[in-house]
Symmetry: D2
Subunit: 456 residues, 4 copies
């Protein structure tokens, strides 16, 4: 599918070993780079002071051995990889982590998600005399935490009561790492371990990248406080079973992550299996659009008995931004990322599995590409329902009028993209495929049922 | 396998349309980025003068819309993506294309390969009074061409007689694009078309990337001259059926390329099939080391009936160089590129297919990684024979003493990498798998039979 | 003299014309570059939003036509050139202007000076719940302004009452430019005009640079509010006649500036004249150390009748930082900035006039240099008294133990620097030379009489 | 005067001490930065190989401690600061030193000047089969040297016979530093010493900058070969007494340089004295346009008895390029470099001494500036005759039609620049002022008498 923009990865470390904390943070953020390519940052405590390094760009562009060195002996540290959900402002000032200095010393925070009542909270803080440095909703949360009193968990819990929206937070104050997940459990956050040190990360793939292990998910509404005495959990009231973002399974998360105890890879294989049951087709090969749709294609192939074959090749270097001829030419962009493996495609009837359709143009170019490479038939199978509603919780979906699934029926869309047939996976099947019984799901982008009221 | 360094991609364009020549070159080089990540350059004729832009770095780092603009209206143009085979010198001066100015105007050349008698030729040219600007063997070839007289094809043909080694060349002089492939046919070069314009490229994937088509391979010893009158072919005597580098099929070339009429992808599937026949094993899943070994793993799975499953995930952003903690830490480097998909691996007996083993350390780290992720057994299957001899034709293999296959038997190596079993594909099977009847193969890295004498 | 570090230049513009506000700010800051070479920034209102661009480096390095363009149509705008008085932290976060967002919209501020009770004020604000983003004292002042109510002049006046120290401020809020000078009048600030537009600047040379005119100095304790209705002045109680920094005349300010109605150039000529009266010497030529001591040398020459001659030449390119051989080699640094004009020096008895002596090492290297160039005698004449006390108001003097004038008598120092004789101008003479009857002077670096109590 | 562009500074070192050769070269080039601001480079022999570092930009931008380190132990080394006389091409390829590799090893060369028969020589070399990498005339000279046989001095001497034009060369081959000055002696080159090491430099100010000493000028047509046995001189036939560029004294050279035994500073004082005799005027002050005209103003003041006073202040940071509002606005450019010292100018009748007039626009803006600052009268006095002819020997004068002195009489020009009176120094007086009896002068820019024939 086209690249949707996710609002970030967060990372936290409480270093009980002699690890080079900066390197651990760097490797973890590198593993979560897919969640945000616009900026990156690390803030770590060094001798009761806080050191911060952040900039626009990829993790590998923002950091060097030189800029990581100051974090080497950091006891507590957080990191962030960012996509600017706000969109307009691409300034360093708005990158994260954000560091503020209050009476008790520094506080630094990294945030994944979106606060829907941010404007009201910000304005009421400004009425109380607060001056803001940034336009970010994490500055709002930091001021809220600071305006309460008590232990750090009490202050955070008081903030949780005021704030509505999605947030997975990693926070440091002197000697202490705190993780918070919103009561709806919309964005993921999990706890891991490497040696005797504890880590927080948006996705468990970050732990693998440093040779560490996944321990457990942070629960909706849970606050974990990690200090020299270990990990302490405080539970604020969750919103029912939670409302975990189903799109993390569909597209965002890496295949090797486990989210809320469900393997992303396995859930995608199941989506493909169910898709094969509800939308079978007579064909020669099944292929997936790299990379998130490949497991679904495996599932479709296994269920249908049609052999899986690689029809499209992804350019390894396209992770990095590249130019496409002055104007942003989507067709060139698609062609530079994906190319057909002609010998596998020529004369074939192809089931092409993709994870979702947003604007429809990418699908159109891909179908064209396969036809030019000699494909006899192209049957598009989408491992999720039509995206019809914008996300308000951290995913940068286009406005409804540009969501092709919102105003075009299956037949019309099939003609537009030039496929021989087109079918979606239904929402119930998708939920079954994920199979996360433990957790409720937010499927608002598919059904418009937002887990909370959205202000204008 | 570990990253071997290939000596480059070359590209050429004779623009008969209104194409933006710089963009075409950029997109083509981007598609061949895997052949050389150290530097890139484009040289194009603009109003009888030559414009050149080249620098160290990835194609996407070297070029911007601004630096491509001067090439827009270029009629003839060449490009290059480079790995410094020489190794020590990483200076801009040695990047390609190289431009020289003689009596007839400019000559610019891009080269993939290595000239084995370069030192003798260079010294005899210096004895004749030639001054060299670079340490490159393409400067030697350009001086040789210049020292002969006659038509451009006669001059190039005279150079071909003097030079021994591998070379795929793209050359421009005013109004003319020339392609040359050495008489042994060691490095690939093919001819393609987009609109009414002609292209030369090391791999056919470059044509796909610009919406163009593969026409045919350049033959060993062939010189093609492309000008306003079309494509003209001149054949110098080839060395038998040729000696095409078998390692292009094993590892270098992209899965979507067709080299000397053989699909790289299909040849790799066949390697896996044969590997399954000669080295079967009882297991739960077959997995491939991304990316070049994945088709071989498909082949192994299909032949054996054991289901294919993705065991390792490659980080999309690892195409770009990244830091690994000061010292070049191979283990961190492997972990940042590849991570196990734990749910697919846990408790499983795995056949892990890789394309080749060079130093053995990567395999060791990968096996460790799978074991830590819960693999019950790891059976390593290599889709080629042990690499035992250094390459002298453009591939930067380590010296023989660091080639683990040169001094370690299968059992010893199996213990070193910590696998439960290890097996290679034999050379005859590899050659059969490639199945390039049209062409002889250079298998010197496996059997030490170099297609020509190598000076000290 | 050695380079002391001054704490900054501030600039403000209320644009009543169609001027390109960014260019005006750039040219003005460029003219005041000598006051701060560590960083630069501009903040301007564009359609009720504020645009900010700032970075480490020289004005000419921080800005380009691209980065100035957004400010073109700015109605109100401020700028800053900075030296980090704090010294340790050289981060972008602490560069100015600082922008904060409160209930009434943005507030941006640029500051020259040092607040001596900053720590107390910061801590009491933190006790009230304020979170700080920076370590700067201008953030403290902005929070104080924000914590008061009333009109902008009332809020600023309330802040003025709380704050002790030196400050020349340029401040913008939507539709309004404000200038403030501390009640002691320590740092300079003046009002100018270009076309129908008003400007604030630390030094009047900024007005010349844009073709504008000096109007008047801002008075100690004065607040000027400039908006669509013109310039409005509000006077808070000054501290007696004021305590203007005498060192601005001695060294900092540019020769072409007029500070508190006194021409810097003329005051320096008078210092030289008086120096000649109190410390005459029989010599062949009088020479000045470029650039601030040259007018004093002119004065000495005119008064003594000894001809002025250029003995030292300053490298035009030394405005820019340059490397000096790994370790910070002061001798190399002096030699790269200043070289003797041998023909003017050989065999001569030289009166060498400098503005001040801080560490003494520069003087030592300069005397050596002149002797090697053949000078027969070198008589050092300093146009100010020995610097004996650190500055607490914005000038980065070294601590007392490194102030050579604090612990070395004239004879001892003369031997150390290797001169034939050494004499200073007395403090009374210096004050007479400045001749600023309108204003009291802060001469604390010479006499230790600080205009206010300095906390530990 | 407006900035004319000089064609370069050359530097050479034969290191007989333990000096850090890279630092010596850097400091020397920094001292000669005024001769060329477009690029810089150093080439040095390190263990029989040659290391080169060069780039576009100022000396202080091109080099860092890191890029200088490889040259530390260099025995022979050359450097270059460059202005691109050719003008159009601003590419790194054409920067100097140029390094070539022949039979005897490397040869590297740095060149100041212009070869007028370069095109013919280049073409005849191309006819012999030489391929050129650059468009520079120093590549031509290197090929000519290489095409001859014998000792290095014989080879260079043979080149000297073929080449016509201006050249001051510093050349290295393994173990040997060579300096060459053209037989006309147009561009300067001198020999110096620091410790036991020998240096070559365009201007003697380079020796001061490293604590070294001037030994002597290289004679017109002289070749000096410096190796482990010391300095050896070879004389090729000079062209009469030589034709030293008079404009070096008028404008280019630094005040602290001594060229062909004449102090630049003293010659400028004499120009001012003679100018006062031939063009006296009743006035209150004499002022000079910084920096090259200041000694001439001193001379005028001393001769006339009118006091010298500083009327214009030069911004220390203007050595560096700066932006001037999108379009190249000469007026803004002048204003950012020079500002009037109002108090010295107001109500005064000023004799303003400048070194030369090229286009006339700068003079116009300066006169305007002084009038706005209150000057009662401005009498322009030029310390040289009208520039009427283009230079063909390394100075980038505009074409004749833009040389205001070529087509405008004194009265007309006086009106154009808005002065109250205007007078030039005559050519005979200029030559007398320089007083270089030892050497003939090239005054072609003033009288059109070129020392050799200039091809079309």
């Amino acid at each position: 599918m086209e690249k949707l923009k996710e609002a970030c990865a967060v990372f936290g470390l409480f270093n009980n070993d002699d690890f080079d904390a900066g390197q651990i943070a760097y490797q973890s953020l590198f593993a979560m780079q897919h969640r945000g390519q616009d900026g990156a940052g690390i803030a770590g405590a060094v001798q009761n002071e806080v050191v911060i390094h952040k900039d626009l760009g990829l993790v590998s562009e923002v950091f060097s051995d030189d800029s990581l060195r100051p974090f080497s002996n950091s006891r507590v540290l957080i990191g962030h990889a960012r996509y600017a959900t706000g969109g307009t402002s691409r300034s360093v000032i708005d990158t994260q982590p954000l560091v503020l200095h209050g009476l008790g010393g520094f506080m630094a925070m990294a945030h994944n998600g979106t606060i829907v009542n941010n404007q009201q909270l910000r304005m009421s803080l400004q009425k109380e005399g607060v001056l803001f440095h940034t336009n970010t909703d994490n500055e709002t949360m930091m001021h809220l935490i600071n305006h309460h009193s008590g232990s750090i968990e009490e202050k955070v819990a008081a903030m949780v009561k005021q704030v509505r929206g999605s947030y997975a937070l990693a926070l440091i104050i002197p000697g202490c790492l705190i993780g918070v997940r919103d009561p709806w459990g919309i964005r993921p956050l999990c706890l891991g371990k490497v040696g005797d040190s504890f880590m927080l990360a948006s996705e468990s793939c970050a732990f693998n990248a440093v040779g560490g292990q996944f321990i457990r998910d942070i629960e909706p509404g849970e606050i974990v406080v990690i200090n020299g005495q270990g990990v302490h959990s405080y539970q604020t009231p969750p919103q029912g079973k939670g409302h975990f973002c189903v799109f993390e399974y569909v597209y965002f998360a890496r295949n090797d992550s486990v989210l809320d105890s469900v393997s992303v890879y396995e859930s995608r294989v199941r989506m493909g299996r169910l898709l094969s049951q509800v939308a079978p087709v007579d064909a020669d090969i099944v292929a997936g659009v790299p990379e998130s749709a490949v497991p679904a294609a495996y599932g479709y192939a296994r269920e249908s008995g049609i052999p899986y074959e690689q029809a499209l090749m992804k350019n390894t270097y396209s992770g990095r931004t590249f130019i496409t001829g002055g104007q942003k030419n989507r067709e060139v962009s698609v062609r530079m990322k994906l190319t057909p493996i002609r010998k596998n495609v020529e004369g074939k009837r192809i089931v092409l599995v993709d994870d979702s359709i947003v604007r429809g143009t990418n699908s159109m170019y891909i179908v064209q590409m396969l036809r030019r490479a000699g494909a006899k038939e192209v049957h598009m199978r989408i491992a999720s329902p039509p995206v019809q509603f914008p996300c308000h919780f951290g995913i940068n979906t286009p406005s409804a009028q540009r969501l092709v699934g919102a105003h075009m029926g299956v037949d019309e869309l099939c003609r537009m993209i030039g496929a021989d047939s087109l079918a979606y996976l239904g929402l119930d099947d998708l939920i079954n495929a994920v199979g996360n019984d433990k957790r409720g799901m937010c499927c608002a982008c598919f059904n418009g049922k937002y887990p909370m009221e959205i202000p204008e």
